[in-house]
């Protein structure tokens, strides 16, 4: 009997709590459709690794498969980079190339990354862990994984759960913040959109140029930016449709499957259930709030200098948060709710893809400024 049920005796309340957390993640993924491709594998993984003496993770001399995957794909930052090829292949930078000034809002909306890094320092995290927590505000899972792994942060599991949960909660987090800092008049500002065509040469040269600029100014960001832009070059070159489709679908899906369940290896009860996890969740939420605040307030400041008729709807600043394409959809819907003839989708999408680049640059900037 001892041989059969002995393992049951090692059941611990902490493990059960982790099963519940795993169950909640699976529930949110399936019932609420919140980032299901990541939250579901993470939720299932959280249960898998929190069984007493789970064979999925290393126990003594027996190497667990999730640890093998972790060492092979996350500890060396390989999975997030490969995922970036897929993301780059999915993104159409067209709206941004038509109005390149929209990139600046992406920069403003990285405020949450750096502000929360400082706050995390105040709360007693060391600078490397604080930087990893701040990058939750990049609203970009692969960048958050890359940075936290670069700094070998012990909080990777909590950072991932926060990053992906809040990305899924953008429709709930952003609107109240935007309403609190804008007037009805500002939210109903119309922006003219003139659909101009972007030449094929521009679309092809753009990823190469961004890689060169980012690589020269922020060399540590070059892996992140380079893989994102490589994916985009596959998409835009016009002669590698098959590779582009593979990157967008097969590669991105495969990596997503492994990424989610492998991250769960960092969700073992002993590491995860501590006050720091709650603090990281709170700081992650603040990062998204600061991002939204930064983008919107920056647009309001720009408006001071713009003549009547050329003013920017400050809501589009919030799309610089990255979280593509959810943020641009949220802002577009908000604009239509305020005024049924106010179509901001293209401008919002331009800022949103700019935010994608800015979040990667912000991650690279952190790596440049803080020693490992």
């Amino acid at each position: 009997m001892q041989a059969i049920f002995g393992n049951l005796l090692q059941l611990d309340i902490k493990l059960v709590v982790m099963w519940i957390i795993g169950g909640v993640l699976i529930y949110l993924a399936i019932k609420k459709d919140m980032e299901p491709s990541l939250l579901l594998p993470m939720g299932f993984g959280a249960i898998l690794v929190n069984l007493p003496n789970s064979g999925a993770i290393t126990q003594g001399n027996e190497i667990g498969v999730l640890n093998v995957l972790y060492d092979a794909g996350i500890a060396n930052e390989l999975f997030p980079l490969l995922l970036f090829i897929g993301i780059g292949a999915m993104i159409d930078f067209g709206p941004l190339l038509q109005s390149p000034y929209l990139l600046i809002f992406g920069a403003a909306a990285q405020l949450g990354v750096f502000a929360v890094m400082s706050l995390a320092c105040l709360f007693g995290f060391n600078i490397q862990d604080a930087a990893s927590i701040g990058v939750i505000g990049a609203a970009d899972g692969p960048t958050a994984i890359f940075v936290s792994q670069y700094f070998n942060s012990q909080y990777t599991g909590a950072i991932m759960v926060a990053a992906y949960s809040y990305m899924a909660l953008v429709p709930i987090i952003q609107p109240p913040v935007i309403r609190a800092i804008t007037t009805k008049k500002e939210r109903t500002i119309h922006m003219k959109y003139s659909a101009s065509t972007v030449s094929k040469q521009t679309k092809i040269l753009f990823p190469i140029m961004v890689t060169l600029i980012a690589g020269l100014v922020v060399p540590r960001s070059v892996a992140l930016v380079g893989f994102l832009m490589f994916g985009n070059l596959l998409r835009e070159c016009g002669v590698l449709d098959s590779l582009s489709q593979t990157a967008q679908n097969v590669l991105a899906n495969l990596i997503t499957i492994f990424l989610g369940i492998t991250i769960a290896s960092q969700m073992q009860a002993d590491q995860f259930l501590n006050p720091q996890t709650l603090l990281i969740m709170a700081l992650g939420l603040l990062a998204f709030v600061f991002d939204t605040f930064g983008g919107v307030v920056f647009a309001k400041i720009i408006n001071i200098f713009l003549p009547e008729g050329k003013k920017i709807n400050p809501m589009i600043g919030a799309c610089g948060i990255s979280a593509f394409p959810m943020s641009s959809r949220v802002i577009s819907k908000m604009a239509l709710k305020e005024d049924k003839e106010n179509y901001l989708l293209m401008q919002a999408a331009g800022v949103n893809v700019g935010g994608q680049i800015a979040s990667v640059i912000a991650g690279g900037m952190i790596l440049n400024l803080i020693a490992r």
Binding site: L103, G354, I357
Partner: protein
């Protein structure tokens, strides 16, 4: 609470935000130039 580290990190906050703004501005200018060159070429 670690006030000294917080104060040190404010320097990184300023440098980081300034850095992101500079890189994005350079990319925006470069896209504008690229658009101009390729449009002229098309004409």
């Amino acid at each position: 609470m670690n006030l000294p580290l917080f104060l040190d990190s404010l320097k990184i906050l300023v440098q980081g935000m300034a850095g992101v703004f500079v890189v994005m501005a350079v990319i925006a200018v470069a896209i504008g130039a690229l658009n101009k060159i390729t449009t002229n070429k098309d004409k």
